[in-house]
C-alpha cells in the first residue's frame, strides 16, 4: 500500500519544505498572545486543599468554618465527588480498583485534592483553605517499586491484595532459541528517575454553568479536549452537548495537559454550586506535586548476542512506578513495544510489564512516553555488548541495523518501520559529530589524565498512536488514535479558512498547515485564516483528537489535505462550468482559477464563493451550494489489537546522537564538547519548525539525563516542589546542538511526513549515559541510572560505584 502522493496533493511547490517564518511568532514574541489568564473574566476563584500526607485515612472533613466565611461560594469534598460523579476509568488497568478525581476515604499521595473551594476571589479562596478541618490517620507509605512489592508493604488500594495494577508479559519470536544460540548475554538493571516537561504555563481553566440550558462551559488549556469531553460527560452522566470545552492558546504542554480533565470535572461541580463562573490557575508548586510526572522505572534487560556480533533477542522486565492514580497506569510499560528493538534486526522480543502503585504522585504522558527509558536501556545494553566484543560501538550498531533494502520492516511484535536508511543515518552522524577525530582527542586526553567520553545512541521516534494497543490488556477495543478531522472553506470574499479537531500547544501547527493549504490551492499563507482555538461546539473532533503522539503531520495534516482536496475539486468543477472550459485545462494561482495559456479567462476564489453561497442560481444544476468541507482522515496502518501482531504507532522516524563530554574529576560536573544529531523524519514541511522541536526535545532529554528529578524521601514525601529544587537545563548548560537531516519519505502518509517532536527526548538519554560511562571507563564506572548527578559521578570516581 502507498499513501504517499505529493504530486496529487500539491498544486504548487512554493511553501511546503520552506523555512517559512511562523505566523504565531509575532503574537508570541511580542507578548500579545492571550493565554487563559489573559482572557476577560468576571467571576470567582477556585483553590484546592491538598493532602499533606503520602498515605492516610481521612477520619473526618469539616468544611463548616469555610462555608461560614461570607466570601466562600461553594465547597466540594471527596464525598461530594463520590456521590455526584462516576469513578475514574483507566485506559489499561483491569484490576478492580475504584478511584475518583478527589480523595475519598484515603489520601494516597502528597498533593491529592481533598477539598475544593470556590470563593469570590483567589485571595478569599486561598484564605478559606485554612478554614477546612481535616483529620487524618497517617498510614505507612511506600515510595519506590521495590518497597511497594515487598511482602509487608502497605496496600495502597484496599480493593486489591497487592500494589500491582498491571502485570503481563507479551513475547514475540524465538526467545529460548536466542538464549541457546547466544555467545553471551548482557544483563543489567537500569533506573530512570521521574522527570517532566514543566511547561511555562501550568494548568488553567474557567468553568461557568448555564442553569437554563444545563451546560457546563469549560475553557481550559487542554491538550486533548476530545478525550476530556468524553471523560467529563461520562463522569457527570450528562449528554455530550452539555459540556462545552474550548481551548485558548496554551503555554506549552508536552503531554502534561492531557491530565487537566480531573480538575475541569471538579470545576464543574463547584461552578454549578457557586452559581457564577470560576477560574483556577494552578500554582507551580501544585504543578510539581503530581499529575505531571513521568513514572520512575526499574528495567531489567537481557540482550543475548551471537558470536558473530548479532543481537539475537531483547528481553525486558519493566516495573513502572505509576504513583497512585489509575487513569494512565500501565501505558508507559505498554508503549515500550514501539521501540523495543530499536533500529536493529532483533528477531525476538519480550516485555514483562508491571505497573506498580506507590505513594508518589500520579503520572501523565510526557514527551516520548516510555520510549526514552526503553531506548536508554537498549542503547546502554548495546554499548555493553560492543565493549564485551571489543568492537567499536558504532561498528557494532551498523552490523545490527535494519538495512534500507529491508524496508518496510516489521518488528517481532508487529511494529512496521516504513522507511529510512538507518546505517546511513549513523554514518552521517559520525561525520557530523567528528567521531573519529574525537576518538583521537580522547586518547590524548586520557594520557593527560582527563576524562573525555564519547557516546552514541540510535533511536526510533514513532508517531501517531494506535491507541487500540492499550486494549491488549483489557481484551476489548476502546479507542483508536489514528484519525483526525478538519474543516476547510473558501469564504464569500475569497479568504480560505481552516479549522481542525485538534489544538496547538506551541508546535507551529498554524504555520505548517497554512504552508500545505497554500501549495494545494496556489495561494500564500497570508491568504489563509487558521482558527487556533478549539471549541467543541464547532471543531470537527474525533474521539482521539489532540496534539500528542507526534500525530500532527500525519493525521491532522491528512484531514486538512482531505478537506482541501474536496474543496479544490469543487472549485475546479465550478470554475470549469463558469468559464466554459475543461477542468483539465484549469490551473490555480493568485486566489483564482485560470485557463492555462489564456490570461483573459479566469475566475477569482471570491467570485466562485459568491456563486456558491449567494448567487446559487448560477451554480451547475446538480451542484450543492457552499464551499466548506468537513473531512475526517485516518491512517489505515493501525492494526486491531492482537497480542501476536500489533503496532503501537504508525510512523517511525530515526536519529543518531553523537555526544562528547568531559568530566571534571574534582567535582563530578560535566561539560559538553559536542552534540550532533542526524535524523530522518521523512519529508519536512517546515525545516525551521522541525529543528526547533529536534533541539527542544533534546534539551528535554538533557534535563532528564543530568538534572531533573522529582525526588521523594523513603516515605514518599516530595522533595522537589519548585524550580529551586527541581533543576531544569538553563541556557548556560545547554550545548550548541548541530543537526543534519536525511529525508526518507514515509509511504503511508500523504506528504511523506513522519513523527516529529519527540525524537530528542527518546534518543538523548542513552547518548549522554554512554558518553559519561565512556568518560569514566578509566575507573570502570558503569552508568545504570538517571539522572547522572555530579554526586553519583564523584562517588563512581572515588569507589567505582555504578552511577
Amino acid at each position: 500500500m502507498t499513501i504517499y502522493a505529493p504530486d496529487r496533493v500539491l498544486a504548487a511547490s512554493n511553501w511546503v519544505g520552506r523555512r517559512a517564518p511562523r505566523k504565531e511568532d509575532a503574537r508570541h514574541l511580542y507578548g500579545r498572545a492571550r493565554f487563559l489568564d489573559d482572557l476577560p473574566f468576571e467571576g470567582g476563584a477556585i483553590a484546592i486543599l491538598r493532602s499533606p500526607h503520602p498515605h492516610a485515612r481521612i477520619v473526618s472533613v469539616d468544611t463548616s468554618r469555610a462555608l461560614a466565611d461570607p466570601r466562600v461560594l461553594a465547597v466540594v469534598t471527596g464525598e461530594d465527588v463520590r456521590r455526584e460523579t462516576s469513578p475514574v476509568a483507566s485506559r489499561s488497568v483491569t484490576a478492580p480498583v475504584t478511584q475518583y478525581v478527589m480523595a475519598v476515604d484515603k489520601v494516597r499521595w502528597v498533593g491529592e485534592p481533598v477539598v475544593a473551594i470556590a470563593a469570590v476571589d483567589m485571595f478569599a479562596a486561598k484564605d478559606a483553605l485554612d478554614l477546612v478541618d481535616v483529620e487524618y490517620e497517617p498510614l505507612p507509605s511506600v515510595a519506590d517499586v521495590d518497597a511497594a512489592l515487598a511482602g509487608d508493604a502497605p496496600l495502597i488500594y484496599d480493593d486489591i491484595d497487592s500494589n500491582v495494577l498491571v502485570h503481563d508479559e507479551i513475547a514475540h519470536g524465538p526467545m529460548a532459541q536466542a538464549f541457546d544460540d547466544a555467545a553471551f548475554v548482557v544483563r543489567e538493571t537500569y533506573r530512570v528517575g521521574r522527570f517532566s516537561s514543566t511547561p511555562l504555563e501550568p494548568y488553567a481553566l474557567t468553568v461557568a454553568y448555564d442553569a437554563n440550558n444545563e451546560v457546563y462551559d469549560v475553557v481550559a488549556n487542554d491538550q486533548q479536549p476530545a478525550r476530556s469531553i468524553g471523560n467529563i460527560t461520562k463522569a457527570l452522566g450528562v449528554p455530550t452537548a452539555n459540556v462545552r470545552l474550548s481551548v485558548p492558546e496554551s503555554g506549552g504542554s508536552f503531554g502534561i495537559k492531557l491530565a487537566i480533565w480531573p480538575y475541569a470535572l471538579i470545576g464543574c461541580l463547584l461552578a454549578k454550586r457557586a452559581g457564577r463562573p470560576l477560574k483556577w490557575i494552578q500554582t507551580r508548586t501544585e504543578h510539581m506535586l503530581g499529575g505531571t510526572h513521568t513514572p520512575d522505572v526499574k528495567m531489567e534487560m537481557e540482550l543475548p548476542v551471537g558470536a558473530d556480533g548479532k543481537i539475537l533477542a531483547m528481553r525486558l522486565r519493566s516495573k513502572e512506578n505509576d504513583g497512585a492514580f489509575i487513569h494512565t497506569a500501565g501505558i508507559y510499560g505498554l508503549i515500550k513495544f514501539a521501540t523495543a528493538v530499536g533500529p536493529y534486526t532483533i528477531g525476538a522480543a519480550s516485555i514483562d510489564l508491571m505497573s506498580v502503585v506507590t505513594n508518589r504522585g500520579p503520572v501523565v504522558q510526557n514527551r516520548g512516553v516510555g520510549k526514552p527509558a526503553m531506548t536508554f536501556a537498549l542503547e546502554r545494553s548495546v554499548d555493553r555488548a560492543a565493549r564485551r566484543l571489543g568492537m567499536d560501538p558504532a561498528e557494532f550498531r551498523l552490523r545490527n541495523m535494519v538495512p534500507p533494502e529491508a524496508m518496510p520492516y516489521t518488528t517481532p511484535a508487529g511494529e512496521i518501520y516504513e522507511s529510512g536508511d538507518y546505517p546511513e543515518t549513523m554514518r552521517r552522524a559520525l561525520e557530523l559529530g567528528r567521531y573519529r577525530e574525537f576518538r583521537e582527542k580522547q586518547a590524548v586526553a586520557r594520557a593527560e589524565g582527563r576524562l573525555l567520553g564519547i557516546g552514541l545512541s540510535a533511536g526510533i521516534e514513532p508517531g501517531t498512536s494506535n491507541i487500540g494497543y492499550y486494549s491488549l490488556l483489557k481484551g476489548t477495543t476502546d479507542y483508536n488514535g489514528s484519525s483526525e478531522g478538519a474543516v476547510v472553506g473558501i469564504e464569500v470574499d475569497g479568504q480560505v479558512t481552516v479549522r481542525t479537531g485538534s489544538v496547538d500547544t506551541g508546535q507551529g501547527h498554524e504555520t505548517t498547515i497554512c504552508q500545505v493549504v497554500a501549495d494545494m490551492l496556489g495561494i500564500t499563507p497570508e491568504d489563509i485564516s487558521f482558527d487556533t482555538f478549539f471549541d467543541s461546539t464547532r471543531s470537527p473532533y474525533t474521539g482521539q483528537s489532540g496534539a500528542y503522539s507526534n500525530r500532527f503531520n500525519d493525521v491532522e495534516v491528512g484531514a486538512v489535505i482531505t478537506a482541501t482536496e474536496r474543496v479544490r475539486a469543487k472549485v475546479r468543477t465550478l470554475a470549469a462550468y463558469l468559464l466554459e472550459a475543461k477542468e483539465e485545462d484549469l490551473v490555480l494561482g493568485d486566489r483564482a482559477v485560470h485557463v492555462a495559456g489564456d490570461a483573459s479567462r479566469s475566475v477569482a476564489f471570491g467570485e466562485l464563493a459568491k456563486v456558491a453561497y449567494n448567487k446559487v442560481v448560477l451554480l451547475p444544476p446538480d451542484m450543492e451550494p457552499g464551499l466548506r468541507v468537513m473531512a475526517y482522515y485516518r491512517n489505515p496502518m493501525a492494526k486491531p489489537p492482537d497480542r501476536g501482531d500489533f503496532n503501537v504507532q504508525l510512523t517511525h522516524s530515526n536519529s543518531v546522537h553523537v555526544v562528547v563530554v568531559e568530566v571534571d574529576k574534582g567535582t563530578g560536573m560535566l561539560d559538553f564538547l559536542k552534540y550532533a544529531i542526524v535524523h530522518d523524519c521523512g519529508r519536512q514541511l517546515n525545516p525551521a519548525v522541525v529543528e526547533g522541536m529536534a533541539i527542544g526535545s533534546t534539551v528535554h532529554g538533557i534535563g532528564g539525563a543530568l538534572l531533573e528529578e522529582f525526588q521523594y524521601d523513603d516515605a514518599a514525601n516530595p522533595l522537589a516542589t519548585s524550580f529551586q529544587t527541581y533543576l531544569k537545563p538553563v541556557a548556560q548548560t545547554v550545548p550548541r546542538i548541530e543537526l543534519g537531516h536525511l529525508e526518507s519519505p514515509c509511504p503511508y502518509t500523504l506528504l511523506g511526513t513522519k513523527a516529529t517532536g519527540e525524537g530528542g527526548s527518546i534518543t538523548s538519554l542513552a547518548a549522554i549515559g554512554n558518553a559519561v560511562e565512556d568518560a569514566l571507563s578509566p575507573y570502570g564506572v558503569q552508568v545504570n541510572s538517571l539522572p547522572i548527578t555530579p554526586e553519583k559521578i564523584l562517588r563512581g570516581i572515588r569507589d567505582g560505584a555504578p552511577v
Binding site: 486561598k126 574534582g666 525526588q711 533543576l727 538553563v730 548556560q732 548548560t733 555530579p790 554526586e791 564523584l794
Partner: protein, 291 residues
C-alpha cells in the same frame, strides 16, 4: 502573588522605620524583595505588616571612611558589580557577585537583604567574612556593629533582635589584595554547594596574609581560620595545599539538601579551596591556576 493579607508601611526615614518596627513585633522588612516576595507568594510567611524600606535613600550610599568602605544596606548587587571603587577596595566582591543568582535578582536584590537573609549558601556572606566585614545594626536603642563572622546563629538565623535594622556593611579596604572565589554549583545561578572565598596578600609566591569565608559548608556561612593559618606564611606548594585541605575538612560541617548531600559538599570543598588558592596566588606560585 496571592499572599495572606498584610498591612504595608513605607517609612521615609530610618527613624520612622525603627518606630514602625517597635510598634509591630510581627513586621517583616522588604528590601529588594528577592526572598520575601517568594515567601509571601507561597504563604510560607504571613507577616501582619510589611515595612518597605525602599524609600530610605540614606541606606543607598557607598562611601570611604578612612581605611574602610561602607556600603549602605539598600545598595543593589547590580550597582555593586558596576562600582569601580568597590572593585578596587574589596576585590572579592565583584568576583562573588557573579555567582549570586542571576541578573534579574542582582538588579533588585540588596547587599543588606542578602546578608540578613542568612542563607547558609549565601555567596555574599562568604565574601564578607573573607573581607573581615562587619554589619551595622540600628534600633531605637542605638547602633551596634557585629562582624559578619559572628552574625549568624544557624540556617536563616542571625543575632538581629526584634526592632533592629541592618543599615550598612563596613569592609576594611584591601586595595591590591588577591582575591578568588572557588564555587561549586549545579547550574550557574544555583545555590552554592561549596564556596570558598579567599582574600590574600602574596609576596614572591608566599601567602603573607589570608582570610577565608565559606558558604554551603555548614548550617551558616563560616570563617576558616585554621585553614588560613595552614597557608599563611608559606609558599603555595602541594604540601601547603594538602595541609590546608586537611584543616578545611575539620572546619566544615555541611548539611544535606536536595541540591547536594553533606558528603558531596565535603568531597568538593577542598577542590574549591585548592582552585581558589591557586587562582589567587596565580603565577607567583609557579603553578597554573585551575579556577
Amino acid at each position: 502573588m496571592i499572599p495572606v493579607d498584610f498591612a504595608y508601611a513605607r517609612p521615609g526615614s530610618l527613624a520612622d522605620t525603627l518606630a514602625v518596627l517597635d510598634g509591630n513585633p510581627g513586621a517583616r522588612l522588604l528590601a529588594g524583595g528577592q526572598s520575601l516576595l517568594t515567601q509571601l507568594k507561597t504563604r510560607t510567611v504571613a507577616p501582619d505588616v510589611v515595612v518597605d524600606i525602599g524609600g530610605l535613600d540614606e541606606l543607598r550610599a557607598i562611601r570611604l571612611e578612612d581605611d574602610r568602605l561602607v556600603i549602605g544596606a539598600m545598595v543593589t548587587m547590580a550597582s555593586l558589580t558596576r562600582d569601580a571603587a568597590v572593585a578596587r577596595a574589596v576585590p572579592i566582591l565583584p568576583l562573588v557577585l557573579r555567582h549570586v543568582a542571576d541578573v534579574q535578582v542582582r538588579n533588585r536584590g540588596t547587599l543588606g537583604g542578602s546578608l540578613a537573609y542568612a542563607d547558609p549558601s549565601g555567596d555574599l556572606a562568604g565574601a564578607a567574612i573573607a573581607s573581615g566585614a562587619s554589619v551595622r545594626l540600628a534600633s531605637s536603642a542605638g547602633e551596634r556593629e557585629v562582624p559578619v563572622a559572628e552574625l549568624y546563629t544557624g540556617p536563616f538565623r542571625t543575632v538581629l533582635r526584634a526592632g533592629e535594622v541592618l543599615t550598612a556593611v563596613s569592609l576594611p579596604r584591601r586595595d591590591g589584595a588577591r582575591a578568588s572565589y572557588g564555587a561549586v554549583a549545579r547550574r550557574p545561578a544555583d545555590p552554592t554547594l561549596a564556596g570558598v572565598a579567599v582574600v590574600a596578600d602574596v609576596d614572591g609566591g608566599t601567602v603573607t596574609e589570608l582570610a577565608i569565608g565559606l558558604v554551603g559548608l555548614g548550617d551558616r556561612p563560616l570563617p576558616a581560620p585554621r585553614t588560613a593559618a595552614a597557608v599563611r606564611g608559606r609558599p603555595l606548594g602541594d604540601e601547603t595545599i594538602a595541609a590546608a585541605r586537611a584543616e578545611l575538612d575539620a572546619e566544615i560541617a555541611p548539611l544535606d539538601s536536595t541540591a547536594g548531600s553533606a558528603d558531596y559538599r565535603r568531597a568538593v570543598a577542598p577542590v574549591a579551596l585548592e582552585r581558589a588558592l591557586r587562582e589567587a596566588v596565580g603565577d607567583d606560585a609557579g603553578v597554573e591556576g585551575n579556577g
